[in-house]
């Protein structure tokens, strides 16, 4: 159980970040790790369908965008309690998943990749052309809203712990989900869909439900991202973001509960580290990705699991 141990250690460290940041007088740690946690939530959502369902979505950033814009548009229009904004973000993202799911899930494999990418690009252009809400430049959120009427979100530490709680909840949710009846069906679909159908499972509706669930959770991540950065723009749903989410999931270890957490942190830390070396760090990251694909499947979760097994 090396992976579980590593995950709890990381969660404990994340919980201590506000204290460490205060101690070292480095308030921007909150921003960095707050954002990392949001991406971890998004990666968890992608892992549900990619890691457990075998559905390669190259359009998951779209849901981040929907969640973010839901928060942005509502707060510009004066609706600024997050208990209204979040359900709207989650609902809108889930609805988009439902509508596009009918098209993308009728096809399989390679089609799925290309069509999810295309739909995400459609939303990218939609938000780019929405002049009313900032168009190209994006939308600044005038002020962070309230939580059930309380103005707690203005405190960076409170916001940080709120995101932490959502992250912990998302981890718990996915841990339960994948062992449930639904999770078994989903994993069965990934392993051998033909067999699942012969056993009597109408696989389409289970895959659709998983896709909607995943989109909704990712929409929640988007809402949190907008709240953290007090901004949402087309850049959050640029196609490369969807690619990065896949990288996070695979780096961390697909189809493992804690993999997305490891992957999101590792990817963002790698970015900071390489970014300090050179601003052209993608020149290094690209070949690193190729090497990971060719030689290091299993990701960090697999690595931790192997380390844990060693006496």
């Amino acid at each position: 159980m090396g992976a579980r141990f590593a995950a709890f250690a990381i969660l404990a460290l994340l919980a201590a970040v506000p204290a460490i940041a205060a101690l070292l007088d480095q308030p921007f740690y909150l921003d960095i790790f707050g954002r990392a946690m949001v991406y971890a939530i998004a990666a968890i959502s992608l892992n549900l369908i990619l890691g457990y369902g075998g559905l390669i979505s190259f359009g998951h950033a779209a849901f981040i965008g929907i969640g973010g814009y839901a928060v942005g548009i509502l707060s510009v229009n004066g609706i600024d309690d997050v208990l209204l904004q979040w359900p709207a973000a989650i609902g809108a993202a889930g609805m988009f998943a439902l509508l596009t799911g009918f098209v993308v899930l009728r096809t399989g494999g390679a089609h799925f990749i290309m069509i999810t990418l295309a739909f995400a690009q459609m939303l990218f252009f939609l938000f780019t052309s929405l002049e009313l809400y900032g168009g190209d430049d994006g939308l600044s959120i005038p002020h962070r809203g309230t939580l059930a009427g309380f103005k707690v979100l203005d405190s960076p530490v409170a916001l940080y712990y709120l995101v932490f709680a959502v992250l912990a909840g998302a981890l718990a949710l996915s841990a339960r989900l994948v062992e449930s009846r639904f999770g078994m069906v989903l994993r069965g679909c990934k392993s051998n869909e033909r067999r699942m159908r012969a056993l009597g499972f109408s696989t389409f509706r289970y895959k659709l439900a998983a896709y909607v669930l995943s989109g909704a959770l990712c929409g929640f991540a988007g809402a949190l991202l907008a709240l953290e950065s007090e901004f949402v723009g087309p850049s959050v749903l640029h196609w490369s973001r969807s690619g990065e989410l896949i990288v996070m999931v695979v780096m961390g270890g697909m189809g493992t509960v804690f993999g997305p957490l490891f992957g999101a942190l590792a990817y963002l830390m790698l970015g900071h580290f390489l970014g300090d070396l050179t601003k052209h760090w993608h020149v290094i990251l690209g070949p690193v990705l190729i090497l990971i694909v060719l030689y290091a499947r299993g990701g960090l979760a697999g690595l931790f699991a192997r380390l844990g097994k060693r006496p």
Binding site: R181, M184, S191, F201
Partner: protein
């Protein structure tokens, strides 16, 4: 009285007629074998019956109900189970999880998101019983991919049975098995006779003639004879087309 009635069933792939006006009946509890040389359309027939392929024409009725337009999951829900010619198990699941998933298919809906499936008594007990019956009890916690070929074939049957079908379609259950494994499988299928209707596609003629209540012979997509094993043995057309070279 018949359980499965097939009339005038046809399927073409481009110019090739894989099934040509096939008619067939399976009675409750009987083991009905379908034999024929390679390319006779036997697997296509199974795929048409299980709903994996839709026929171009003809009708299929299960217990008097038309099922020709239903998809595979719907037919499975009505009680048609099948095994595959190429072993088709969930490799990363344990043997027990494979069978439990099959039990789950017929035990209510699966939109349950939180309760751990492995703690559901009904699923776990059903799976364990089925594994015991198949003689796989000791391998319950082994990942299916790590089972031997023969064990995987057994698991395949266990999964099909665990969904409690009324009609079991078996596509060469002894394919690739050694003689002793093969004999065990034949023995097991014999023990099922009377409790469940089976449509068996099989190349092992000894197994077929030992097991079948009735036999249908196909060549080039057509049925050329149906009857008891003795009648089929004695049928000149069958001998000419098929058995002459084989036995």
């Amino acid at each position: 009285m018949t359980l499965l009635t097939v009339e005038g069933l046809s399927k073409r792939f481009g110019g090739v007629v894989a099934c040509d006006q096939v008619a067939l009946e399976v009675r409750p509890g009987e083991l009905h074998a379908v034999i024929g040389p390679n390319g006779a359309g036997k697997t296509t027939l199974l795929n048409l019956l299980s709903g994996e392929l839709l026929s171009d024409e003809g009708r299929i009725a299960l217990d008097g109900r038309e099922i020709g337009a239903l998809d595979a999951p719907a037919r499975a829900a009505l009680g048609i189970g099948r095994s595959f010619q190429i072993t088709s198990v969930f490799g990363e699941f344990t043997a027990h999880e494979n069978v439990a998933l099959a039990v789950q298919a017929r035990a209510g809906h699966s939109f349950r998101f939180f309760a751990e499936a492995r703690r559901e008594r009904a699923l776990a007990d059903g799976a364990r019983d089925m594994l015991e019956r198949m003689g796989l009890g000791e391998r319950a916690n082994t990942p299916a991919a790590a089972l031997s070929h023969g064990e995987q074939r057994q698991l395949e049957i266990a999964m099909a049975l665990a969904a409690r079908p009324r009609l079991l379609l078996l596509d060469e259950p002894t394919a690739g098995m050694g003689p002793s494994e093969s004999a065990r499988m034949v023995e097991f299928l014999a023990s099922l006779k009377g409790t469940i209707a089976m449509l068996l596609v099989e190349h092992d003629m000894d197994a077929v003639f030992a097991l079948a209540d009735r036999i249908t012979v196909m060549t080039y997509g057509r049925v050329i004879a149906t009857g008891s094993p003795d009648a089929i043995r004695a049928n000149d057309e069958v001998r000419a087309a098929y058995l002459g070279t084989d036995s």
